[in-house]
Amino acid sequence: MKTSFTINGEVKSIDVDGKTPLLWAIRDDLDLKGTKFGCGKAACGACTIHVDGKQVRSCSFPVKYAEGKNITTIEGLSKGGQLHAVQQAWAEMVVPQCGYCQPGFIMATAALLNQIPKPTDQDIDDNILNVCRCGTYYRMRKAIHRAAEIYASK
């Protein structure tokens, strides 16, 4: 089954079973490895991407529903070589340890800031439900607030 969508600004067409999780189309067919496989059960958030600007866990999103949609992955978050505000904040606060879950968190945070430009601690607690095993949450919270500042100053 052929499915077409825009991903990171480019129109792509892939021919896979429509039930294929979008994650695998992105990773293996389009060779964008920044979107990570963590659990395959929409429980950890490592595969978080944006579909039409909203956060979606791509391991549980069938390719066929991507038809005509606008998809952004971590590779498309930075524009023209400039890191996205969330990525800048992440670098300032030196958030990553092993780093594997970070693209998912960064995408979830970018989606959060799209909806709530200045999130409170409670907004963060409610909306950021990804899992990080290294325990970088303490710095992440600081980075999310910092990203909101960078966002606001742009």
Binding site: W24, G34, G38, G40, E75, C98, G99, Y100, I128, C134
Partner: protein
């Protein structure tokens, strides 16, 4: 092309090494400059690591191996024997090299040494020892490299070495300049100097400074750096069916329907697993569902059954520490409290897996592993080929935490590749990950203590039961188990650090469980410290003294005693520790020492809706010289949060004979909402060399939280994960 060492007549123990030069070789125009070591200069460290059992770096000395490459664009590429799993080791090593070679850190790149290209640690990366063990040897190597380049630069300019001017990897003389790369490209035979004098610490530009992680931009941008991201041309995907029941054996499998599924390449049946290979991962998963398997399930293991096995009094007894006399059971002044901790999963986010290609008697395997050298041996043995024909290429790890100290799935991937004749990518499903973990074993503890007439503790005993940690691990040769008798991993943190006590003892009861338990970040430290420090706190309350003075009175002045006292006092002072609680909010304090690094935490806990919420943690760690204080802090924060998660939330159990749960969420782990909003880390430097960092801060966290809950509610929580009701 091997250089002769002109100073080799009378080898000096410290600098006896040969250097190999591969000028103009290497790949893609890279000039490689390598060294290999005849004698491991790190042996002297070995004595210091008996506690951790994970030896420091111990490269093999039989092959020419590569430490540094000077690339054509004048960068210095360090082939690290240690892997980067988040602990920041690559950054610390880059700082060390930059300082001793007097170059900007931007000139340094670090990569994981593969078995074919560099020195891999033949034991592994773990025990929080990477920086601690590499610090001096790497400084010596880098300084020697710098000196070699200077000698050659002087030769090429035709001047005396002391006339050279150098700036960031480029030599200048008389208006001319030569880069490291240009120099290296001209050299065919290197002169090997004695190890130069190392830089004085007051001249460090990078060591001891909060340099930003050198790998963070790649991680923030989602670069394909992990085992899960690796590929090989014409690769097929494998998934493996394993038993879900503990102890189950494969009886029969009907693969006929599965073989007809789209994209299926081959289905491979082995004694205890079935590999389903297809052109894509999704096709492999679809086909896997069509395999009809029957298992022999000899026994349905229950939670209670495991608990019965793991009780003080059952299993192999070993007294691991003894001073003074044992407490008598009929002494009515003896206080006894039991504690326990559950089975814990690693739950690292990157699943285990490998990409392997076996062809014409040679194997190449790319994977995330903490044990590159051991994996090489395992693959060579399983395929019955020479070690030299197996190349293990390590990647960045999406979390280690001890889980990747056993990566025998590299063997399975290689076997499938050999059978299929193509490169194979295999990785665990999350369910497979949870049910085939090498878990942190459950533990049971009986603490006994007695106060003297002045209310000072005079005797303390820790009796503890644990499953395997070190015993049966691939890291330890089997004979060592017998010699040692004790499970040294389970023993981490089990011995009493209060050496000032007239009597103390620690007794281990070891049992091997019917499923694998092994290394989990900090090993026995978290549970053992939880038991000991909760109990000591309770005794302080019984004696009517504050928990700091109570501890200071029994720590003693031997061994690490003074350093433990320092972190304890500092933590209490900085956090303004108080015993007082308003019934909703209060503080807890606990201390431990692990691999020579004492650490104390003061936590502030609030009880919100009958839940324990950790609001603030003040951490004081003495890890000696902090090569990168910011990353030491990051390790403390991570340890605190992972330890908090294990102390308040996590628990694996047995359900209908299967290990459960098999999904995040159901396996309850701390999320951002559970992390303390304030973590203040203070470093004290009790010694001049770097000491382990990544695990010691896990020790006191559970006990500190429990002690705070005790002050708030009056209730002593004795079982992890701690719950109020």
């Amino acid at each position: 092309m091997t250089a002769r060492n002109k100073n080799d007549k009378k080898p000096k123990s410290k600098s006896r090494r040969k250097f190999l030069v591969r000028g103009g070789l290497g790949t893609l125009g890279v000039f490689a400059l390598g060294t290999y070591i005849l004698r491991n200069p790190l042996r002297r460290k070995v004595l210091g690591i008996a506690e951790t059992l994970i030896a420091p770096y111990s490269g093999s000395g039989t092959k020419p191996n590569l430490w540094f490459e000077i690339t054509i664009d004048n960068k210095i590429l360090l082939h690290s024997p240690k892997v980067e799993m988040g602990q920041g080791t690559f950054t610390g090593l880059a700082q060390i090299v930059a300082d001793e070679m007097n170059v900007d850190i931007e000139m340094i790149e670090v990569t994981t040494a593969a078995t074919s290209t560099g020195i891999v640690d033949s034991i592994g990366t773990g025990g929080s020892l990477s920086i601690a063990s590499m610090y001096t040897p790497l400084r010596e190597l880098a300084a020697t490299m710098g000196e070699m380049l200077s000698i050659e630069a002087a030769k090429q300019f035709g001047i005396a070495k002391n006339k050279l001017q150098i700036n960031n990897g480029t030599y200048f003389y008389g208006g001319k300049e030569l880069t490291y790369a240009q120099i290296a490209s001209q050299v065919t035979e290197w002169e090997i100097p004695d190890t130069p004098t190392l830089k004085s610490s007051k001249n460090f530009k990078y060591i001891g400074k909060p340099v930003k992680r050198i790998d963070q931009i790649a991680k923030i941008k989602g670069d394909p750096i992990y085992g899960m991201d690796t590929t090989m041309p014409d690769m097929a995907y494998a998934t493996i069916i394993r038993p879900e029941h503990v102890g189950a054996k494969l009886r029969s499998a009907d693969t006929s329907d599965a073989e007809k599924m789209a994209g299926v390449v081959k289905i491979i049946k082995r004694e205890d697993w079935i590999g389903v290979v297809a052109e894509s991962y999704v096709e492999a998963i679809m086909a896997r569902k069509k395999v009809k398997v029957e298992w022999d399930i000899p026994k349905i293991w229950t939670e209670q059954g495991i608990r019965e096995m793991l009780k003080v009094g059952n299993g192999d007894k070993m007294i691991t520490q003894k001073k003074g006399s044992a407490l008598e059971d009929d002494d009515d002044k003896v206080v006894t409290i039991e504690f326990s901790s559950p089975l814990g999963a690693h739950a690292q986010i990157e699943p285990n897996g490998a990409v392997a290609y076996v062809n014409e008697g040679k194997a190449t395997v790319k994977l995330s592993t903490q044990v590159i050298g051991i994996t090489q041996k395992q693959v060579a043995e399983a395929l019955n080929i020479d070690l030299d024909n197996v190349n293990i290429i390590g990647t960045y790890l999406g979390g280690g935490f001890g889980r990747r100290l056993n990566t025998s799935h590299a063997v399975e991937t290689a076997i499938i590749s050999r059978e299929v004749g193509r490169p194979i990518k295999y990785f665990f499903t999350r369910q497979e990950e949870f049910q085939n973990d090498t878990f942190r074993p459950p533990t049971h503890h009986i603490m006994k203590g007695k106060l003297n007439d002045e209310g000072i503790l005079e005797a303390l005993e820790h009796h503890y039961a644990s499953g395997d940690v070190a015993i049966n691990s691939v890291l330890l040769p089997a004979p060592l188990h017998g010699v040692l008798g004790t499970d040294i991993g389970a023993m981490r943190g089990a011995n009493i650090m209060y050496k000032g006590l007239p009597s103390h003892r620690s007794v281990q009861w070891h049992t091997t469980l019917p499923f694998a338990t092994s290394w989990w970040r900090s090993l026995g430290l978290l549970a053992n410290t939880f038991a000991i420090e909760s109990f000591v706190d309770e005794m302080a309350i019984k004696s009517g003294s504050n928990p700091i003075d109570f501890r200071l009175a029994i720590l003693g002045d031997k061994d690490s005693g003074p350093r433990i006292k320092t972190v304890l006092k500092e933590a209490a002072r900085i956090a303004k520790y108080t015993d007082k609680s308003d019934g909703n909010r209060g503080m807890g304090i606990a201390v431990s020492t692990d691999t020579g690094s004492p650490c104390a935490h003061v936590v502030e806990v609030a009880i919100i809706n009958n839940r324990i919420s950790v609001e603030k943690v003040t951490c004081v760690l003495d890890c000696g010289l902090a090569v990168n204080p910011d990353q030491v802090r990051a390790q403390c924060e991570g340890s605190i949060i992972m330890g908090l998660s294990a102390s308040l939330h996590e628990k694996m159990t047995l359900k209908n004979g299967k290990l459960s749960p098999t999904i995040y969420g159901a396996y309850d782990m701390a999320l951002i909402k559970d992390a303390p909003k304030e973590i203040n880390v203070h470093l004290v430097q009790g010694v001049d060399e770097p000491l382990p960092v990544g695990e010691p801060p896990m020790g006191p966290i559970g006990a500190a939280i429990g002690n705070a809950v005790r002050r708030i509610t009056g209730k002593r929580l004795t079982d992890l994960p701690m719950r109020l009701s």
